[in-house]
Structures are given as C-alpha cells and as structure tokens.
Symmetry: C2
Subunit: 743 residues, 2 copies
C-alpha cells in the first residue's frame, strides 16, 4: 500500500524522532487499546477511566466510539491534552457493511463474485470513515469445516483457495491500496490463526492440527491478506500447536513476520492476552510478557500490557527493545494512515448524511443479497414464481425485521432492514395475492430463546399455541396456488458464542414444513441461516429449496427478486451441507483413504459408515440456476507443463435453458501422486460468467506450476512433477476431466 509522506525513510525518521521523546510509559501506552463501553461487548470487561488514560498517554487506540463528533472529541483528548499529542486509532467491527448491512460473510462468499465482495468492503469503508472509524477488525478469513461452530457465518467457508481470493478482495476493498485517503480504512485480518477449527465446533475451544494442515489448508487466506498488504493482524483466542495464539512466537513472529514478511502490527482479540491465564500460561504479568515477546503489539481491552510491562521491564522479563518494536509498529500504522498529518481527517460532520446508507449503497446491498442466494432444488422448474395468482407466504422469518441483518452487524440497525413480507409487497404487491401466516415460532423453547435474545428480541414466542399457528398457515396454504415457507435460524443462532450440536431446523419449524408439504400444494422452502444446516428432510419435502443466509438490509427485496425471477440465482455453496451432524467434519477436499469406497453403496472394509452415505447433502460449489449449463469440450493446450510455462484449460459452457444466467465455472486439480497425502481435488480456479440463454461461452483458465505447489513434510513449498487431473464443472463433483503432467 502507498504510504503517507515520501516513503519508508521519511516514516522511519519521523517515528525515530517521536520515539526519542517518549517515556517508557508513553510507549507502553501506545500498545493499549480501549473501549469505553456502551456498545455490544464480546467479553466481560470494558475499559475504565478512558478519558484520563487518553490524557495520560495511555491509549494507542479506541473502539466503540462512533460519529464525527464523538470521535473528534476523543481524538482531541489525545492530540491536545496528552503530553506528546499522539493521535489514536479508531477501530470497529465492520464485518458485513457499516450501516448498509450486506449479507453475512458466508453468504457473500456464496456469490463467488470477487468484484462484488470488494465493492461491499469499499462501501463499508466509505460509510465507516464517514462516521470516524478508520480501522476495521475485518476480514475474518478463518477456514471452517465445522458448521456446528457459530462463527462459520463470519467467514468464507471451507476452502483455502476461495478463502484467499476473498481475503484479498476484502482487504483491497477496505484499503484500496491507499490508506491515506479519507474513505479507506486500515484492514485487520483475523483471527490468526485456526480459530475456525475449534474442536467439536465449540466456540473458543482448543485447536489441534498438524503444521502440514495449517500451511496447506488453514493458513492460505491469512497469508493472502498479508500479501495484499493488510495493515493489521488480529491474534485468535485458541491455542495453536499447544500455545495460545496471542502468546505464540512461532506463529506471530516466525511465520507471520519472518516467513510471510508482514510489516504491520498485531492486535490481540478482546482480552485474549488476559485469557492466557485460563489457558494455563501464568499470571497477568507472565502472559503479557509472553504476548509481547511473541510479537503481539497491541493489547485489546485487557490492559495486561498497560499494567504489567513496566514491571516486567524492571525485572528483565521483557526488554526495552521489545517494547520499542511494538510501539514502532503502532506508530507506523498511524503514520501510514496520515494521522500525524491530520489527526482529524476522518471526522467530517458533513459526511454521514452524504455517505451512509445511500440509495446507491442499498442498491448494491440488494444486488449483493440476490447474488448470495443458492438454489438447492427446483423440481419441475417451480421457481421462479409467476407474478400472479395467490401465494401463501408463511414461516417465522417472513415478517421478522430483527433477523434480517445477520449476526455480528453491530454497526447495522435492524430498523433499516426490509422484511421478506415487505420485499414481496415491493416486488409483486399489485399483481399477486399474498396470504401471510407466521406458521411457527423460530423456536418454542423460552430457555433457548433467552440465550438467543441477548442482543435484543430475535426469537419472539407467539402467544398462540403452535397448533393454532400451523392451522393458520395451513388455511393460507389451502387457498394458495403455491406455498413459500421461510424458515431457519434467528440471526444469533449463528455467530460468536453460538455453537450448536444440532444444526437441523428447530422441531416446531420442522412440523410446519411437514404440515405444509402434506397439503400437496407446490412448496418452496426458503432456508435462512448463518451456517450449513442438516435440512435433508426439508429437501425431500420441498419442491424447491433456496438457501438465503441472513442477507442484510435488503434481504426481503432481494429474496423477492430471486423468487420472482428478476434475478436468476447464481450462488454456490462455499461450505458443505452435511446429511447429519455425525458426518462432521465433511468437506470436498478430502484426502483419499487406502480403502476408498466406490460410489454410494456400502462395501464392507471400505471407508464408510453403516448408517449414512459418505456424500454430503449438498457439496461445496453446488448451486442451481433457473437455466441449465452444459459443460463440453474440456481442452488443454498442452499435455506437459514445465516450471516456466503455463497450460491453458478451456471449456465450453452452453446455457441450454430458458433464462439468461450466470454460472460459476470451477476448476479443480488432483495431484495423482505426491510425497504426502493430498486432497482428491482442490479448487484452483473459478470464473463467474454471464451467458445469455442459448449462448455458449468458452471459459479459459491458466495453470502454472506454482498453482500446483503445496507444502511438503519439511514445510517447503513447491509443486512435484508427475501426473495431474483437472476437473471443470459447476460444483466440486465436476466430472469433465483431462490429464496433464508436470515435468
């Protein structure tokens, strides 16, 4: 990224000069990140005495303060009332949009549209900076192969290649390669590392995997963000190879800085330094010293650095050089952001009204939402529905404004969200007779509801009995030509601290779907969730099944756009949908066993289960369209690749259906023989292409030796010569294949 002033030497000179004036206390102060509270907290503590700490030079950054006026006031305390006047960083979690809330990240990923994803990040940066926020704790790029884990919703799914592309797109969107602009913000890639592999899908749980798996399957998106110039890295809550990430020198220094060349700063997650006490790493002084020496530069909220580093310095447990290094990195970030030129540059009172939640931004949100929806089933082309006749629109998520934004949208506001009911009215209000019925609660269990409603009412249990609600829905269904049932999760059933051991629909909703199916009316099931769910029964019962995630402020409009064919769905799953929870972890890039089972039929002494097939309900990359795409003529321009040339893989894709549409053309590669066990196929390329009905498009991919590289047992990275198979198609089961060899 571009830097303020005329480059690194100027920055060095500036920071050297500033640091020469700083006391050790002031240096430690720069490592302290506070939150004054008032917002939604993700830990049990908030910072105290924030104002006096700022004045005392004890605060390097702050989050949870919004709006030009408040942020300006806070910055003034630092700039005008602290001894050296060093400006603060203003941060926030802007995960999927600022006020213009976009679909949750797992949904956005399902668009496979890198331009779109970058654009959502760019808009988020523009809105956030208009409100005084210029440091974002996003993107979260944690690979996860466990839909029990609630935060799978906040990431891009299971695949390192796709995850890396999305990581790059988001960092680029936030930073725009130019941190000095007032409408770009510094991005933080998180949670470094492996947070998505929390054991048993239980949030914050221990993580264990081989280094080989880290480097090949879980690290790539973090590295991609670093390669894209991300300004900040956030350490994760979990342990990595036996040492909590926030105190893991191998991770934060050897890998991140020495191997990957990261030159920004590392911030802890919320009190994650302190939490190393519970991990068994020692008392607050010990874990703070451990973190600093590991390469962690800024301590979020817990104030272990602020309260113990001086003592550790006196006792020789950290060195002044350790403190200087961390302080320098924080100051460099401020320099790159141009804060030393103008500490108030992001605090423009005129911007919020001009930049936030604009019609233009909402338009992007609506397009984005439509593009995240994944059509899983569409028997007899039931969808799109005609804009005529009578539709029974039923389900607990039809008129549920509080559940549209999706989890972890702390800067969003539910009041701006368009419900499904409103979306239908907006799109077909005049022409279609829409009969509405709630049909079921999201859950009938008040105890469960209380856990979900910690941030406000997400599950509201109706005063009527479940039977009365179903009966109302059935009455509507009987009058209708077609039934659209919108079921699924409340927003806070996914996200942080929202892990589930059962990822099927709550029983009351299952009953609703069963009852609706029994009516014999054509049934569209819309599943709204933040995670892959085990919806095999609903898939059986429904004529059409649409996965829509929680799609942000424009959810209702976008869903209506898709249901009625104003947008032909093009989303593809980025996380495998299991048949049942007992299949977890299940993902497409499985390594082969020595006893692979061919096909679906159980064979004794092959790798399988007695009670369920090895295949998922819906595989990675899967998603239908209202039209059909046929793949033909997979051609390679050569059969042998060398280290210096490239191979062109071309395929012809024909839209043979009755709608114009977009297709995500996916390329997978299998390395037939290698020194380690490798996945049976790995995504190595994709292109989202628009093909008018009847047209054919030739899609061309380029493969180089570097695309075939992987980390070996000794953690070196290269491709191994030998035979490869390339598969191209519309999902991870793509059957069109060709072979080539690498010399």
């Amino acid at each position: 990224p571009k830097e303020s002033g005329s480059g690194k030497s100027d920055m060095d000179a500036f920071v050297n000069d500033l640091m020469s004036k700083m006391t050790i206390q002031e240096k430690i102060g720069q490592l302290n990140l506070v939150t004054p509270g008032g917002g939604i907290l993700t830990g049990s503590v908030v910072s105290t005495d924030v104002e006096s700490k700022i004045k005392n030079g004890q605060v390097g950054g702050i989050f949870g303060v919004y709006g030009p006026e408040k942020t300006r006031q806070a910055q003034k305390l630092a700039v005008e009332e602290s001894r050296l006047g060093i400006p603060m960083l203003f941060g926030s979690d802007v995960i999927h949009g600022y006020k213009t809330t976009f679909p949750l990240p797992l949904g956005l990923a399902s668009s496979w549209d890198m331009e779109l994803i970058e654009k959502t990040a760019q808009i988020a940066a523009k809105e956030a900076t208009a409100d005084g926020i210029f440091w974002n704790f996003s993107p979260m790029v944690d690979i996860s192969r466990d839909p029990r884990w609630g935060r799978i919703s906040e990431g891009s799914g299971e695949d390192p290649y796709l995850g890396s592309q999305i990581a790059r797109a988001m960092v680029k969107g936030y930073q725009q390669d130019d941190l000095t602009r007032s409408n770009t913000m510094m991005s933080t890639v998180k949670h470094f590392a492996l947070y998505g592999a929390s054991e048993a899908g239980r949030d914050y749980n221990t993580v264990d995997m081989s280094r080989l798996r880290m480097f090949n399957d879980y690290f790539p998106p973090y590295k991609a963000a670093v390669d894209e110039g991300v300004g900040c890295v956030m350490s994760s809550f979990n342990d990595v190879d036996g040492v909590p990430a926030s105190g893991n020198k191998w991770l934060l220094t050897d890998v991140l800085r020495n191997q990957w060349g990261f030159d920004g700063f590392v911030v802890s997650d919320y009190t994650s330094v302190n939490e190393m006490i519970a991990h068994g790493m020692g008392d607050l002084q010990a874990v703070s010293a451990l973190a600093l020496k590991a390469g962690l530069d800024m301590d979020m909220v817990g104030e272990g650095f602020l309260t113990t580093l001086e003592k550790s310095l006196e006792e020789g447990k950290v060195s002044e050089a350790d403190i200087n290094l961390a302080c320098r990195r924080v100051l460099e970030a401020k320099y790159k952001l141009g804060l030393f030129d103008d500490p108030y540059r992001y605090f423009d009172d005129a911007r919020p009204a001009k930049d936030i939640l604009t019609a233009e931004n909402r338009k992007v949100a609506r397009e984005a939402a439509a593009r995240t929806m994944v059509l899983l089933k569409n028997e007899e082309q039931l969808l799109p529905l005609k804009k005529s006749g009578t539709i029974a629109l039923v389900g607990p998520l039809v008129d549920s404004r509080n559940n549209m934004l999706g989890t972890w949208a702390p800067t969003g506001e539910t009041r701006y969200a368009v419900t499904v009911k409103e979306g239908f009215e907006n799109v077909v209000g005049e022409s279609v007779n829409v009969l509405y019925a709630r049909g079921a609660n999201i859950s009938d269990d008040p105890e469960f509801a209380a856990k979900i409603n910690v941030f406000g009412p997400k599950i509201e249990i109706d005063e009527r009995s479940p039977e009365a609600m179903i009966n109302e829905a059935l009455a509507a269904a009987k009058k209708a030509d077609v039934v659209v049932a919108v079921v699924g999760e409340a927003t806070e059933m996914t996200g942080e601290s929202s892990s589930l051991t059962d990822i099927s629909l709550p029983e009351c909703q299952k009953k609703l779907v069963r009852a609706l199916a029994k009516t014999g009316k054509p049934l569209v099931v819309v599943n709204m969730s933040g995670r892959p769910m085990t919806i095999g029964e609903e898939n059986e019962l429904a004529d059409a099944l649409l996965q829509v995630w929680h799609a942000g402020v424009e959810t209702g409009n976008a869903l209506a756009d898709v249901i009625f064919g104003d947008y032909n769905p093009s989303g593809k799953l980025t996380a495998t949908f299991p048949r049942n929870v007992g299949q977890i972890p299940i993902y497409y890039a499985l390594r082969n066993t020595g006893r692979p089972q061919d096909g679906e039929q159980f064979t004794k002494f092959k790798s399988n289960y007695l009670d369920v097939s090895n295949t998922p309900l819906f595989p990675f990359g899967y998603g239908l369209s209202y039209t059909r795409f046929e793949y033909k003529e997979l051609v390679l321009d050569k059969s042998t690749l060398t280290n210096t040339d490239e191979i062109k893989v071309s395929v012809s894709v024909t839209n043979t259906g009755n709608f114009d549409g977009e297709e995500v053309v996916q390329l997978y590669v299998r390395d037939e023989v290698a020194s380690i066990t490798l996945p049976l196929r790995e995504l190595k390329g994709f292109q989202k292409v628009f093909i008018p009905k009847g047209d054919t498009k030739e899609v061309v991919f380029t493969l180089r030796a570097g695309d075939l590289a992987f980390y070996h047992s000794d953690l070196s990275f290269s491709a191994e010569p030998g035979e490869f198979t390339v598969f191209v198609g519309g999902d991870s089961n793509a059957s069109l294949s060709a072979k080539f060899s690498l010399e």
Copy 2:
C-alpha cells in the same frame, strides 16, 4: 524378554550364518506374510498359491491356519521342502480371547483390573498356542475419543495413561517375558499409529493432529508396549502427518526405533502397503520400496514386497542393506521364539483338548465379564434384584447367542456363548419366575441388517410386526414385579468398518424402552454395546441402567451374577459417553479454553453450545456400585516435590453402604501453569481396592517428577516446576483436591 540360546551374540551369529546362505529372493521371501483364506478376511484379497510359495521360500509367515495338524502340515512345507528350511511364523487375530472369548477390549478396560487383563491375555496365549498359533496381532492400543468409530470397541478407550497400563498388561500376558515357552506367544502392538483418530469417526479415514498431541495423548500406549518388550509392531492404515503409516519413515524408524529403541519387526496391516497406491503414494513398486525404506519389515497379504523389491533393488530404489535389515528382524523374531531349535514346538495334538475352553478358563471369562459391567444409574437401589418374584426379561439381546462374543472374535465360536436368558436360568432358574419376550428387533431395517450380517446372522428380523413384539413385552411387564430390558447393538454394529454417525439406540428399541417405562414397573435397562452410546433418553426412563458391552462366552452368566448381586459391579467407563453426537469429540482430559464456562449454566461469550451442556452424559472413570464409597482425608506427605524424591498421596475410602465392594480409586493431576496448554486434569494413578461394607481403607499413591512430565513444544520430555493440583475420587470429576509444587 528372554531370548532362546544364550543371548544376543548367539542370535547374531546364527542369523549371520543363515543369511550368508540366503539368496536375495529368499530374503525377500521372509518378508512375505500370507493367508490361505477360508477365514474371515478384512480385505478384498487372499494369497494365492500358498503351498508353492512356501516351498519356494517365498513365505515368512502365515495366518488363518488353525490347529496342530494343519499348522504342522504347513510348517513342514517350509522346513522340509524349502531350500533352507526356515520355519514360518503362525499368526492370528486373538483379540479378546481365543476360544474362551473374553469381553471385548473396551469392556475389559472398564474393569481397570490389570491383573485380570493380563490373565485374559495369558489364557488367550495358552489356548492359541495349543492350536498352533504363536504370533498374535494384539493388543490394539489405539486411543480413541470418537465413539462413532466402530473400532473404539477394540481398544482401551480415551486415556493414554490407562491405555499404557493396559498395553503393558496385555503384552505381558501374551509374552510372559519369555517367548521360548510353548504357551506364550509373540505380541503385536497395533495399529501404529493414531488409527483411533480417524477423521469424523469414519473407519480408515485420514488422521490429522499435531506432533504434540501424538506424543502426549496418542503415542504413550504404543510406547508402553515397546517398553514392555513387545515383539512386533503393526503399522496402521491411516496417514500420520501426511504420510501413510506403512510408508512413514519418521514414524517407523525415527520415533519407533531411534527414539523408543524398538528392536523387533514391523508388520503391515492387511494390504496396507498396497493401499498406499490409493493414498496417492505411487504404484505398487513405489509404495513397496517406500514401505521398506521407511522401516516396514513384513508385508501382509499384498505381496508388494514379494513381487517388486527385486526390481527395485536392480533399479537402485532400495538397497540390499534395506532388505537385509528387514530379513534380519524377521529371522530374529523366529530365533527368539525358539523356532530354529524346534519348528514344531507349538504343534502338539494333545494340547487343544487339554488347554482350550477349559472350565477354569470359562470361570475367568465369567469373572472378567462381571467385572467389566458398569452401573450407570441405580435409583432407590433397584439393583441388585432379589432372587424371587417375577421378572420380565425383554429385549432383542436377551436370547441372541450370535451377539454375545463381541466384535472381532474370529477364533471364538458363538455356539459356546451363554445367552442372557440362559444366564438368568443358570443363576435363578428355580427361584424366580422369568417371563421372556423379545420386544423388538435390534433394527427393523433389512438394509441395515444386511450390512451387519456379513459374518453371519446378527440382526434377525422377526416375522411379527414391531407392534406385536412390543405388546408381548408389555404383557410380560404387566405380570412382573420388575422389568429387565436388554437392548443395544448387534456385535457387528461396532468393530472394523462399522462406523456410525448416529450412536443412539435404533428407533425400534427406543420405542420398546419408552413403552416399558410407561408401564410404571421398575425398569432395569441393560445396554449392550461396543461403544459409548447416546442413551440419555434411556437413562431418564430407566430406574437402573447397566452398561455391559458384549461380554464374551460367559455374558449371560456374568450379567445374571451382577443383576442378582452375586457380583457387586465395579466397572468404570474408559470412554466418555456423550449426550449427543454433536458433542464429539468429548473426553475428560480437555484443555482449558481462554473463556471457560463455570458450571452448567450457559453464559454468553464463554466456551459452550447453545443447545446442550458442555458436560457428557457419563464421564470417564464413572461407574456406580451397589454400595457407596466415601472419600476423605486427602493428605500429601509433603508440599514440595523435587526431581529426586517422591510425594505420597493418601486418601481414606470408606464403604458406607450395605454391600462389600470394589472401588477404582483414581488420581488425577493438573499442572496449573505450563509452557503449553495441558489438560485440566490427567489420570496419573489408579488402584482397584476391595473394601468390605463398613470398612475404611487408606489408599496411597506415589508421585514422582517423572509422573508429571510431558512433551514440550520442542518434543523434549520433562516436568516443569510449578504448582500442581491433585484430585482423588471415584471418577474424572473427583472433587477432593490438594496442591503441591515441583521445585
């Protein structure tokens, strides 16, 4: 172990001399292990032309041949018709008894009785050698924390310390420190390594974990077997750190031989060398060379060595030294077994009748079976039942001879098994009116039954309707004072290639238990299974719940002994019973998170699930008695331990109930602060003690610094100074605690 002749120098001289006469083909022949077929195979191939291969010196060992006559015949071919007359090894899977089938290993482990376990192995060796078998593919010591995995039944459960003690007991039982005796057999520890960590509990699946976890949690039982002098190690099917075990030099040479000092030979699992082709390691020649060079000495059935090593030698892909080394190890094993003194020493026609399935052996089997049963619940002291009145004995496993032995008892014979019905008749035939009803099928699903019945009829679906069967059971229940329902798994629902994603009772059995509970009659549920099951509902419905595994030939007698109080149950679980499959993996030795939840109550932003507690249904180490044990006065004889002394931990255990009984007193240690995240508690000692009712026993444990050692990030092994907490009690939740420090 003692060696034949006068020690290593004699052996070296003998083997050197012999090898000097051998052609390269004959050396390769020694590395070939064949099976002539006819038994139950665990792979898809059998060896061909066995007789001619033996004559040609192309067979080092054989398995699947039983009885003195047949084994003698086969050995004669080798000794009298091959050029050098080198005798063969005769092997078999003698997993939990030979003909006197003992409870399956997970059950035996639940006895926590090392003397008993050693005795069962000793008896197995005596019976097997009487039948001409002197090389056993046992013990399996794979730690498993995933009850989906079918082979969890074949191991000792989840704990490395307990697993290590059991590994030692079994090796000792088979080998008796003296391989030259004709009633001891060479033991093989398997499956090296990590087979129990098959991903998603799917058999043969890929395995991934950190080396830290390998060394601390999964390797100890293998190492314990090596330390006990095990003669052979079997490589596992799975990959270890990216390389299949059978071709993993780090595993088979660096760790096993160089670090642990193993000096026996390594045999592959059934065609596991060949199966490296499917793992993506190359063609048969390549994987065979890979295996040999990795340190694998004998190739089971696949004949990759036999058919390709000579070519690889010619092409320089293996060296003559590689072949010599493997050949030497095989010949050394034969030497140690005394085969060169007398190749026919195990083939005594008089022995089978004298040694096999004796009354004495069956008596041990009955005692062992009773000692493996785990009492999980006993409301109002319903058990033991009186030997009077009327009992309804219902359930599909009451009169099911084919399901008593337990999985993988290929040398056992179901006809010798005592059913539950017979056991009841034997124990209380005269005095109790026992009303029998089947009540339900094990499963109503013919397709499922077909998968289970590959080795014979285990699930036999009744001609009657499920309703008729339940009604018959209810009629019996109504006439009875108490109902005993024997439900659970058919034997082949666990074991190899018997993984399940749903580990609850089959629905038809759930219905039976529900119907029986509704009668209001006191209900004893006996759950017979090879794995921990999710039996929370049954636990709620039952007044008493007894976990009995598949307990071998004496299952019925032993169960009646326990039910009627002739034996007071003392078993303790060695694998955690989860509440649901979504909690997996769940085990007691969890590492702490940074955000531990205190107690059962859900707290936001703590590590937990929204829908189920963090605790299991039944924890590791848990098991009730008909009496009660009270723990008091936990006393340490010092508060500070040094590297050279020891600490005595004593506790007073009082039998406060009305029965004499045995208790497994367990000692757990927590290392409060360490350089890596460690389990919150780890088993470090246990003693099974008999305490007459009313008596108190002081139980004393000794801890040394070495007991507190663990593998650090650099894989060095030592204890770290600091604070420790010791917990003593009757299960892994033991609350009595004391602190000490290590200097």
